[in-house]
Point group: D2
Chain length 344, copies 4
């Protein structure tokens, strides 16, 4: 077997580290160039001490020359940078995977409002579970990895909207671990501030993942869906727990809701609909490319309530990216991806 060779741009960050961790377990992908900006020249071990297998590898500059010649290039860069690097790489058969936001939003106005700067357009969206998306990814050479929150919310609600079971007026409140904010040196991300405390941020429709959630759910629903989204920072390193709720359509029963979710998810290798009465915990998915999901009908309030847990770095970023790459390379979708969490 000939291993396919992959490069990681942004290897010193959290998403880059998770890509490396997962790729080291992948039987058909091998790690080539590891690149970064300010960390170039230092060994990876100085930034990712949990990866002793790569400790001595020297990080290179993120340039088109260094990234050239790989079968797959993962771009784990701040938004606005992936598009520039991708442009430098030019047309090629290389699978280029943008783990950032640059190629997610189809609507230039939404891009301008939430990100600003030039709109790079869209690439095939790396969420195989979305109806029809798996086939698109099988031939994709460019992949836009979904945001971590949109991954969780879309998986939690697409069966409801695909089945016409919910009204398009969604409320989402989601807690994330601090790695979702990256390795940025900000006072509010210091351990002393985070431990023992849950905090809200980006409230009121201003979080950048909002239009991406709306784009996904609107496509499934066939009508415009609005999402009122409130993110929270929780005292844990990894994990997202999202509570996603929308008014139930008239006449919906609990049994019909359950059945719709069972049917929509029964063949999904990475999404588990939990037994009735069991609710998700992020620990169920720690370090795994999985989602743990539960749904119920709140008959008192007339709402569909879906709760989902993922690991923001794995299924929410790096694992989801590799899952899409597996499809693009014609490999089995599950290849090399952990399906069991690390717990307790």
């Amino acid at each position: 077997m000939i291993m396919q060779r992959v490069a990681i741009a942004g290897a010193s960050g959290y998403a880059g580290g998770e890509l490396a961790r997962l790729l080291l377990m992948h039987p058909e992908l091998e790690i080539g160039a590891l690149t970064a900006a300010s960390s170039a020249g230092s060994p990876l071990g100085a930034h990712q001490p949990h990866l002793p297998q790569l400790a001595g590898r020297i990080i290179q500059e993120t340039t088109a020359d260094v990234l050239a010649g790989h079968d797959v290039v993962f771009l784990a860069l701040p938004h606005g940078q992936s598009a520039a690097v991708a442009a430098q790489l030019g047309e090629s058969d290389t699978v280029i995977v943008d783990c950032g936001a640059d190629h997610r939003l189809a609507d230039p106005a939404a891009w301008a409002e939430f990100y600003g700067g030039a709109h790079a357009g869209t690439w095939p969206y790396g969420l195989p579970e979305l109806p029809g998306q798996r086939d698109i990814l099988r031939t994709a050479r460019r992949i836009a990895v979904p945001g971590c929150y949109p991954t969780s919310v879309t998986l939690a609600l697409f069966p409801a909207f695909a089945g016409g079971l919910a009204e398009p007026d969604v409320v989402v409140v989601a807690a994330t671990g601090t790695s979702g904010a990256g390795k940025a040196l900000k006072p509010n991300l210091l351990g002393s501030e985070v431990m023992g405390s849950v905090s809200a941020y980006g409230v009121g429709g201003v979080h950048r993942h909002t239009p991406e959630m709306e784009q996904n759910l609107s496509a499934v629903a066939g009508v415009p869906v609005t999402v009122a989204f409130t993110p929270m920072l929780a005292p844990m390193s990894r994990g997202i727990l999202a509570t996603c709720t929308a008014p139930a359509t008239p006449g919906l029963t609990a049994a019909a809701l359950r059945e719709a979710y069972e049917n929509a998810l029964k063949d999904e290798p990475f999404v588990t609909l939990l037994p009735e009465g069991v609710w998700p915990a992020t620990s169920m998915t720690y370090g795994a490319n999985t989602a743990a999901l539960q749904v119920t009908l709140d008959e008192r309030a007339g709402r569909v309530v879906a709760v989902i847990a993922i690991d923001n770095l794995t299924k929410g970023t790096a694992g989801g990216a590799i899952q899409s790459v597996n499809l693009a390379l014609g490999l089995p979708e599950e290849l090399g991806l952990p399906t069991n969490g690390v717990a307790p």
Copy 2:
């Protein structure tokens, strides 16, 4: 000055411990009997090692005889037990404070659905910030302390409903620290399970605090309010962060919303409306009898979004109880209660 003497029933639990901690700082209340059930006969230090001033005090049985003769009796007992103990104490001028659920719900049907067993009726509700409630508490001899979640949600939304600014279709998602679940020995409350993980529980309209939230908000709104409530367990010992959202009434502006909250809260000693753009963290209120609140208008989704942080054991239980007792005893409302948190 003659100190008034208080008893704590349930002194070995988390609510009882917090009552003791706060009462030790109170200049006009002194601690008399400390009682419990299975812990009776052991020193308080074996259960509350953070309270060295009381370490040698022996816990007594929770009986009417032991509790008699105090000016104030706090009942920090499992639901269903306070009403029985209160009945044994009989008619008297003693201020009896039920920190449990027995005397909160006015609707016997809601009691039967969510708690079961005999309905004990209602006592004056210990949330001085509710319009009109402060005066009621000044003459109360019986006080029903609100649940921790209803305290947070009611404080977060009463200005909106009092001002007619929101539709009565509320969605609440709230994260709590584990002390909210008490000292019960359950596997899901073990440190190994809780640390590094956020989990959902009691989803879909089944949490017992739901009807209490609806009762409070309906009274303020003047129409029936429904609440779709999802609680989460977060990896911290203390604190509640609640995101509370409802559709905005047509024509509401962000400025009008802000002004309504400023007016409603400007004289409240324990509720801080944060500066615009600052969002609550539970660490702001750690160990303090305070609430930190922010509100915004999500114009994209057309919703009022209020986020509030409290310490579930302090403002959410023991501190709120003492605040009401201060009123009932004719003392200054703030007396002896911490208004600054312990952070970082």
Copy 3:
């Protein structure tokens, strides 16, 4: 390839869960019977929700009949129970692996003092890194898995004692995550008690792992070694960080110390001597069968100071057990075992 079939007794506990997690990634071992005591009859998913691949498997009773017919049997049982089960299994070619304490201590007096009850004798000790031990394990049919603390301390100090670089008067202080205490429902293990707090326990020579550390280090040193051991409980689910110190022998230099450790560890697949100046963190080894080690000479105090990090459930228990089983089955020692941690 024919998979070898393994049973796990004690599958509902933390050690049993970690064995299952690791075995699911092992290419030549497949999971057969999963057994327990009080949990028998329930699905594994009710106890190990992070293992969706096994969620529907029903836990059986721990009996000789159920365990019979496997190539490997792991006993992850409370001390005192493994010996009884092993006796029932009788003589056979099955590899029986005691993850408990029953077969670790050679000295009946030490067993009597620290554990009590009948002394079961010793089995080959499952720490391949100990000089000479790897060869013993290649032919073993019975394996005594070391305790988690003794694993860490022995790995940290054996190069010093093998090289005659330290006096036999050891002081160890080690912090463990709460999973080291198992799933027992004790108040001091509740999340509310553990989070935000480090505590000491078993101080003063009374911890059961003390004689095991002394047994290992004495064997390497060739003289009796005493260990003054203080364990601490830290607010994390997994991990041990052990600081191990002993007086330096006269004339020892920092360079000689470093060289001795480099030589002793250079071929070890799972033990990393970190670059000079880098000190271990338990996150480096989270979920991995690895140890991260650093050593220095405190010239001011004249002491060798070695600090080591392991995951108590992986290298400290389940991973170490599988490492030894790989040897016993003639498989590559590293087969199926993760060498990269899950971080951040």
Copy 4:
């Protein structure tokens, strides 16, 4: 009563915030100027959101002019800066309190080795529990607040050395919460790195608090004491748990050891010798100016083992500082200082 007026230099940091929190509860001290360097000009609420009572106070520049005219000036500044500011303040009757390291070490060589730069000399050492120290502080106008680790270690071992019960060859391993490292924006202090992980740092005699511990214990012992000190960072915001051990002098009995500690500590208002068999947890002292201490004789290893818990920000810094100031101002030593922790 006329309040005495205090200034805090370094008010935006963790030590400065804790000083402010405690001073707000002090009945005879009121807060005057709050100063800082880069934070000058911003409101305190932007840096200490847990202190709503001071939220609107504007931070001033740290200059002699601003600090002049207060009865007490607390300097919570990085080492090297306090001496310069103190020099600018000149001779005066103001009580100047250095919460940094500048005035702790008597030995210029130790200063040069561990800190470097000009040696400022010593001020009266602010640890009232040290034999003879309380009287010195009653007339002091300058106070050097001990380091947080030296506070814990000195309290834990001074009874042993004062009684001649231990040999002068000390080993200390101590875990600290992350606030001990201050608010510096370093990658290893990010929440994502800290949570779920214990790490070692400053191992091998290089931590700056080492000579201070040796200075204190040598003074008590009357002979030079060496300390082999290993600090660890634990996943909590506050707290130090220190295990302190030294060889027992020949013939020492457990009873004699216990008695010596009881006698040494029986009149101390802030140090609790726990009941036999109970071991300290940092949660016992959370936010309180207390120490929780236990001691035992490890007869197997022939060592005295003392374990102590303090809050590094309270008894370890700000609370200890106010305790000394109370003495210097002729106030009751305990005035305004919390003696009960915030737990769970």
